[in-house]
Symmetry: C2
Subunit: 218 residues, 2 copies
């Protein structure tokens, strides 16, 4: 059951990464149809290879595949956001609560906070968002569970898709930099339980903000 290792990125995976960025970056609008022929021509790959790419991204939840009709950029819904935050609470909160402050992933958390702090001065709010996500991915990495880590990676990709749809990146990301720093500090001080409680507050507040921003769209 494939525990690790990943030596050579294939063409399909490279293209998948590129398409993923285009989607989460907003270059491709949610709901948009992706014609196999057109996209294959644009990316200069064959239709067959593109289909493999589509399968990958569909499993990740950022593309939607309707049989005999084609693939579309997934459309975030209120329900999906609620579900995503529910999963986040379920996974992140216990992950942090049972963390050992000396774990290697703590360094990842630290550098994520540092990067977010840097980027907010440019300001590059999309970059701040990425750094914040990296912070939370690091929290899940505290569990050393390959399955949780992989699952959470998907969840984050979906959430970034939703973020791309909203239009107040500063409001969505800025307030959480100091909170992340605070959580990290509490963990490093040897109080994972307290850090975990703070994380739960964080998630509830962030969820509310995202839902409000989402509601402003219609």
């Amino acid at each position: 059951m494939a525990e690790a290792r990943e030596p050579a990125p294939s063409l399909a995976e490279e293209i998948a990464a590129r398409l993923r960025d285009q989607v989460t970056g907003g270059a491709l609008v949610p709901g948009q149809r992706l014609s196999e022929a057109r996209v294959a021509a644009e990316l200069d790959i064959s239709r067959n290879t593109l289909r493999e790419v589509f399968r990958l991204l569909t499993r990740e939840g950022i593309l939607r595949h309707e049989p005999n009709r084609g693939v579309f950029v997934a459309v975030p819904s209120m329900a999906s956001i609620l579900d995503i935050y529910r999963v986040r609470r379920l996974i992140e909160v216990p992950a942090l609560a049972q963390a050992w402050p000396g774990h290697a992933a703590v360094a990842r958390m630290r550098s994520a906070v540092a990067r977010a702090t840097e980027l907010q001065r440019i300001p590059d709010w999309r970059g701040v968002g990425s750094a914040n996500m990296e912070f939370h991915a690091a929290i899940v990495a505290l569990t050393d569970s390959p399955r949780l880590i992989q699952f959470f990676t998907q969840i984050i990709a979906e959430l970034r898709l939703a973020f791309g749809l909203l239009d107040s990146p500063e409001l969505l990301h800025r307030p959480y930099i100091p909170r992340n720093a605070e959580i990290l500090g509490r963990l490093e001080a040897g109080d994972p339980a307290g850090a975990s409680r703070m994380l739960e507050d964080y998630l509830n507040q962030s969820e509310r903000a995202v839902l409000e921003a989402f509601a402003r769209l219609g």
Copy 2:
């Protein structure tokens, strides 16, 4: 973000289901290499379609893909079993604890218990195992979370792969039929918290049994 719907099963998905059964059923040995040409000929599909099948099953965790080397049936390890049970505890226990006893999935749990009871008289221990898994899938369905449900489906596929490797199906499945019934009864009696505690015991004991059976192999 693809919340539901699945109207037409494509050829690739049908074949995937067939291969999945062959793997979890033990017809294909863990570690075995699956030659694209040979398998495509056996299943009477083209190599391209088979590749899509492989991608599907690789994402599910029951096949392993090594670039430029081919795909292999995944080999369950001690570490993977530990990880799987950890994920199960994390998801199933809270799912049951917060359950509403009138939820539709409770009926699924009930019929799963009934089916397991039926099959143990034949006896069909592989069938009993499937029914037990269905019971736990139903528990996760109590959450109404599409993402958790899909994730858990993968986890179960992996676990069944591990079960197929072991050789004492009666020992692995029989003791848990009455426990499932008991958990269900507690839930129907309006005590999800109590049911959840029993489930936690269940999982710990089951994990121990599986690990012991696994250790007997070497």
